[in-house]
Amino acid sequence: MSTKTLPAFRTNTPRTMPRKPAQRQDTVAGHGGFASKLTVNGLLVVGALYMVVPVLWLLFASTKNAADLYGTSAYALGNFALFENIAAVAAQDGGVFFRWMANSILYAGVGAVLGSLISVMAGYAFDKFNFRWKDSLFGFVLVGVLIPNTATVLPMYLLASVVGMTNTIWAVLIPVLCNPFGVYLARVYASSYVPSETLEAARVDGAGPIRSFFALGLPMMMPGYITIALFQFVGVWNNFMLPLVMLQDEQLLPVSVGISIWQGYAVPQPEFVPMVITGSLLSIIPLLVAFIMLQRFWKSGLTTGAVK
C-alpha cells in the first residue's frame, strides 16, 4: 500500500458548515446520559490508544541500548541511551543516514512543490478553460488515478534502463512529478475556490490568463495546493518500491530504503537494532512536524475540497 489517496468528496449536501455545527449540536442536545457518554468516549480512547501506542513504543525503544531493549519492560526507561543511539546513527558509514534524510527531503520536496504546481495548473485548466478533447483528456487523468503506482514501477525501471537513467536522481525525481489524483483534486478546488467572475473581471482589466492564474487563481487555491503538496510529500517520503528498484548507489537512497537495509543488517547483528529504531524515529519527525504545523491547511483542504 502507500502513496496515492487523498480523497475528497462529500455527500450531497451544501458545504461550508464544518467544525461549528459540532459545537451547536452539543448545546442543543448535550444530555446523552452518563453511561452512553462513558461508552462513546471510552471506545474513542481505546481506538486512539491503538493508534498511538506503537509510536510511543518507538519513542521509548529509541532511548534504550541493545541490552535494555531485550532486558527491560517496554515502557520502562532503562539507561537513557537516546543520545548514544543518535550518535551511533550519525556515525554509521560516515553519516550516511543524514545523506538519506537529505535525499528524502529533496525527492519529497521537489515532488511536493513542483509536482503539485504541475497538478494544480492542469486541474485549473480543466476547470476554467474550454478546449477540444477536454473530456477525453480528463479521462486519461482518471485512468492514471486508477493504475496502482507499484504496477508501473517495474515498467518504469525497464524503460529507464533502456535510456540509462537508472541509479540517477532523475529516476526518482521525474516519476514523483506525476500526480494524476492531484489534478483531479485541483479541478475540484479550482471550481470551489476560484469564482469565474473574478477571472472574468481580471480579463476585462487586461490581465492575461497566465498572469491571472499566478496573481489570482493560485493564491485563492492555496489551501488546496498545500493539501495536495502535503499529501504528495508524504507519498514520496513513503515511497519504497520505486527507489528500491531504481537506485543502487547507497548515497542516493531515500531514508525509507536506507533504514530497510539496516534492518537487513540487524538480523545477524543485533547491535544494529537500536540504530534501526532510532533512525526510524528520526525519520518520521519531519512528517509529524509537517502534519502538526499544517493542520489548519490539510483539515480545511479535506473539508472544503470535499465536494462531489
Binding site: 455545527p21 478553460f129 485512468v143 518504469m156 528498484v245 537494532v273
Partner: protein, 315 residues
Amino acid sequence: MATQAPTAVPQPAAPQRRRSTASGTGGRTAALFLVPFFAVFAIAMVAPVIYAIVLSFYAQQKSGLGFGEAKTSFVGFENYLQVLESESFVTGIARLGLYCAIYIPCMVGGAVVFALLLDATVARARKLFQLLVFLPHAVPGVIAALIWAYLYTPGISPVVQALQGGGIQVNFLDAHMVLPAIVNIGVWEWTGYNVIILFTALQAVPREILEAARVDGAGEIRAALSIKFPLILPALSVIMLFTIIGTLQLFTEPSIIAKATPSITSTWVPNMWAYDAAFIRHNLNQAAAASIIIAALAAFLSLVVTRFSSRMNKS
C-alpha cells in the same frame, strides 16, 4: 457532477493522447497549463506501460540485464500464460484476495464506527482524537512495518510479553498468523485517515434532519444507523475504490516483515512476485507481463466498484 471521478472510468487506454492545441476558446492557453502535466504523465505512466506491453510479448533465450537483445523473439501471450500458470503467482493472488477479505471489513468497518462515535453528541475532545487517529498516517509504510515487526518479535515486544503473561502463546510471525499480522499493519496505517474523511462527510449531514429525527423519538444509535450512515455512502464508495487500488499495491509491508520471518516467501504477493521475476530470476519479460496483469486487475476491480456504487447511489 456527483462522483464524476469514479463513474467516468477506463476508456481503454487507447494511446491516442495529444493535448488540444488549437480550437475552442482558450485552447492555446489551456495547452500551456496542461503540457507540463501530460509531459510527465507520458514519461512516467504512458511510456512505461506501453513499453511493458511490448516487452511482455517477447522472450529472451539468454536472460540477462540489458545485454540480452541478441536472441529476442516474439512469443505472443506465452509470458502471460506462464505467469498465470505459475503456482506461486496464483497463490499470491489468492493470498491477496484473502488479505482483502479480512482487511477491508476491518479497516473500513473500524473507520465507520470510529467516525460515528466521533460524531456522536456525547463525544468529547474531537480535535484531539482526530489528530491522534491521524498520527499513523504520518508514519511511512516502511517504518510502520518496522515498528510492528518489532512488536511481533518475542523478546522485544510488550504485546507478546503481555499475552504470554496472560497465558496465551502466539507467534505472530508463523505461517498462519503472518497474514493477519500484516492486515493489522494496514489497518493501523489507514483507519485513521479514513476516519477523518468520513467524519468530514458526517459533519456535512444537515443538523435539521437529525434534529427532526430526535423530535420523532429516534435515539442516538438509531439516528446513526438509519440517517447518518446512508448519507455517507458516497464517501464510503470512494474509500472502497481507493482501498482496493491500495491493496493491490501491497509490497512494502510484507517485504519488510519478510526480513523478520521465513514465513513470507519472496513471491508472497503479486508485486513481490514481479520484483522477484525482474531482479532474482532476471526474467524481465515475465516481470513486465506480471505488472500488466496487476494493472489490468486494478482497472477491472475499480470498474466493478464504480459500477456497483453508482447503482447503489441511484437506488
